[in-house]
């Protein structure tokens, strides 16, 4: 059973190999709008055109052929010229109008082409597809290329690719440039310049006759007050230093309050002693 089935298929295959569709007397011509047939080129199933056919924006390309089954001209059911865009693989069929005698003709101009073809960077490939019902083998051969010549004055046709779900390009946020400092050399130079003013100040005072000659006298007169007073002034600077480095306001205020009270209480005594020296004419 299988054997005879295989034989039958083989026979059918052999029979099919005999009959097939083909086309003959094929030519492509490009006519400008003015009407004159500019170029007419012949092609055949075995000899496709090597040079591309140019199609301008107002031109019409006309393809003529005769469809034949087993060498006899006949009307096929399907006679298309399919034009394919090479970038995306998009294909558009242009059915030929076929008469009963097998003669087929179709005219294509740029306005018949889908807009995606007009934006293609590469030439379009044209093929002829002829097929029909029955056993005859259908034929699909590439025949010529079409090169579109666009009018430079005309606006480029607009085409928006349809929305398709897929991954989108990555975005990385570009951060604002952070705050910048001038070069450290400059900062160091000026910091050192400022810091150098301190010894300049002290040396100038010394040259003007600064001294602490009354220190022993003052300490002799009111030792605790003076020590406490000067100490509390230094302590206040210390509180400011702690505020700068680690403390918050709520830690600073009580301590500053205490130090302030100490300054006031010891200050009355200490400055009183200074007043006494002033009244004694020593200042």
């Amino acid at each position: 059973m299988r054997f005879t089935q295989a034989l039958l298929l083989l026979a059918a295959g052999a029979a099919q190999a005999a009959s097939s569709w083909s086309f003959d007397d094929a030519s492509v011509s490009v006519a400008a709008k003015k009407g004159s047939d500019a170029i007419k080129e012949k092609f055949s199933q075995k000899a496709p055109l090597t040079k591309p056919v140019g199609l301008g924006s107002t031109d019409t390309v006309k393809i003529i052929l005769t469809a034949k089954e087993d060498g006899k001209a006949k009307r096929p059911h399907q006679a298309f010229v399919t034009i394919k865009e090479q970038e995306t693989g998009l294909e558009a069929p242009f059915p030929l109008t076929v008469k009963d005698t097998g003669k087929a003709v179709v005219q294509i101009s740029q306005k018949d082409l889908p807009v995606q073809f007009l934006l293609s960077p590469k030439p379009l490939k044209a093929s002829v597809v002829i097929g029909s019902f029955g056993e005859a083998r259908a034929v699909n051969t590439p025949v010529f290329d079409i090169e579109l010549q666009t009018d430079p004055n005309a606006p480029v046709p607009k085409y928006e690719a349809p929305v398709r779900y897929g991954k989108k390009p990555e975005i990385h946020h570009i951060f604002r440039p952070g705050p910048q400092s001038p070069p450290k050399v400059i900062s160091l130079f000026f910091a050192l310049a400022v810091a150098a003013m301190v010894p300049v100040l002290f040396i100038s005072w010394l040259l003007l006759g600064a001294n602490v000659n009354h220190l022993t006298k003052a300490l002799g007169a009111a030792p605790l007050s003076h020590v406490t007073f000067f100490g509390s002034i230094v302590a206040m600077e210390g509180v400011f230093f702690m505020y700068y480095t680690s403390w918050n306001l709520f830690q600073v205020l009580p301590v500053a309050g205490v130090v302030g009270v100490v300054t006031v209480l010891s200050g009355t005594k200490a400055l009183g002693e200074v007043q006494s020296r002033r009244l004694a004419g020593e200042r």
Binding site: G131, F133, F175, M197, A218, G281
Partner: protein, 466 residues
């Protein structure tokens, strides 16, 4: 011990829920119950997947898609019927409401029977265009079955379809081998340009659609409906609520005689088996939400800075924090959940956006667990404060939609989060100035209190002036 227990529980759960994610009540609408026999293998496969099938004719009184506002069926399968209309219970509006209520529809058309107007209206609503003359047939003089359609060429033989673009998950061509799909006497449709429509099976480049009554002799230029890959033989539509509508152009490809049949392609291998049974299983599996359904298990984000607490999903972030984001995805595969592996050329992306995305980052597959794959990334929050969203918007053909949005406020730097002035090199001259002032002041106090005047004791006499 704990893992063993949880594994056992999971195994038990997967045994219990061995069906589609969206229910198992299937309604089959056909002409008369005798048709059941021609599709017996297809229905047997469906029943094996635990669908509860109800068979009704369109004009039957007991047919109701809705009852008291709820769907009475989860899925509907339409086989070709010879009546022109589908009756008052299956109006286009009812079918439309059914899809809006997340019901799935599988339509099988045939070139021998006219498609009812309700279905044509429903399909045109979805932007699936059928040939207007209602009798059209898809033929291909290059890819047909020699054994059964040597003359009419109306049984197309196609290889199992690969995805049309890279990055799309391949559900329909796995394990096909050399088997071909037979598409006997079917209708081709033309799909609109929307992103919700995806063809599963497209006609070969040389195929075309024609009307046997009016175009028996030849196909003329103006009357050609469509040809080549513009004809979609099995088309799908997935709504934004994940309801699925599939149009199978040939109901005959679901019949018993084409399941595991032997076919011969012109110019191909002598005898090849058809892939129809497996293909029908996959197409119905996709339509009835058994495959291609995704789920988010959980989302976790936390602060990724040294020395900072990293508790999950904090309520607030700060500008320029480093944040780590992980999402766990699962996919339903026929009867149980497995981890979702994103296809090769595709990425799951995280958008960190306020009004528009500030970051769009590809998530990397980080680890695989039972029924979960973690996708993870670490990034820096932009230097803009405001209310931001972590958004994973993953919508792909043949997969259900994932839209996970977590909103977080992003605050400014607090007053004590700025760098200290001693760390800013431009501030050094000013700090030196403060130091100079303090030391100068202390020196002055000491000098003022304890110094003796130069030229001591000189009395200054005030000269009296007249």
């Amino acid at each position: 011990m704990r893992t063993l227990l949880s594994f056992l529980l999971l195994a038990l759960a997967s045994v219990v829920a061995a069906i589609s994610t969206s229910g198992n009540r299937l309604l089959v609408v056909l002409d008369d119950v005798a048709d059941k026999a021609t599709y017996s293998k297809f229905f047997a496969d469906l029943e094996e997947r635990e669908f509860k099938i109800t068979y009704e004719t369109p004009k039957s009184d007991s047919l109701n898609l809705f009852n008291l506002g709820e769907r009475t069926y989860d899925h509907v399968l339409f086989l070709p019927v010879h009546t022109k209309g589908l009756g008052p219970n299956l109006t286009p509006k009812t079918l439309h409401d059914f899809v809006n209520a997340q019901g799935n529809i599988l339509l099988a058309l045939s070139a021998n029977t006219t498609t009812p107007t309700s279905l044509v209206s429903l399909l045109s609503e979805l932007d699936i265009t059928l040939p207007t003359d209602r009798n059209s047939l898809v033929v291909d003089h290059f890819n047909y079955d020699i054994t059964s359609a040597a003359d009419r060429h109306d049984v197309l033989l196609l290889p199992a379809p690969k995805p049309v673009r890279t990055g799309i998950k391949d559900f329909f061509s796995e394990d096909a081998g050399t088997k071909l799909i037979a598409f006997p006497r079917g209708v081709g449709a033309v799909l609109g340009n929307g992103q919700l429509l995806n063809p599963i099976l497209r006609a070969p480049r040389t195929a075309y659609s024609y009307n046997p009554k009016e175009q028996a002799e030849a196909v003329n230029g103006d009357d050609l409906f469509a040809a080549g890959q513009q004809l979609s033989l099995v088309s799908t539509f997935q709504a934004r609520n994940n309801a699925r509508v599939t149009v199978v152009g040939s109901a005959e490809m679901l019949q018993d005689k084409w399941f595991d049949a032997s076919v011969t392609k012109l110019g191909g291998k002598p005898v090849v088996q058809t892939f129809n049974r497996e293909f029908a299983k996959r197409v119905s599996g996709w339509t009835f939400q058994e495959i291609g359904v995704l789920k988010v298990n959980w989302v976790e984000h936390h602060l990724e800075e040294e020395g900072a607490p990293n508790d999950s999903n904090p309520a607030m972030y700060r500008v320029k924090n480093n944040v780590s984001y992980t999402i766990s995805l699962a996919e339903f595969a026929w009867d149980h959940w497995i981890g979702f592996n994103v296809p090769e050329a595709d990425e799951v992306q995280l958008e960190f956006s306020m009004l528009s995305p500030f970051h769009r980052l590809n998530l990397k597959e980080e680890s695989h667990r039972l029924a979960a794959v973690h996708y993870h990334t670490v990034f820096t929050i932009p230097d803009q404060h405001g209310i931001f969203n972590f958004m994973v918007n993953y919508k792909r053909p043949f997969l259900s939609n994932i839209e996970e949005k977590n909103t977080v406020p992003v605050r400014h730097m607090a007053h004590d989060e700025w760098p200290r002035s001693y760390a800013i090199s431009g501030a050094w001259p000013w700090i030196a100035g403060i130091g100079a002032t303090v030391s100068g002041f202390l020196g002055f106090v000491a000098l003022w209190m304890y110094s003796a005047p130069v030229g001591a004791g000189k009395k200054v006499t005030v000269k009296k002036t007249q």
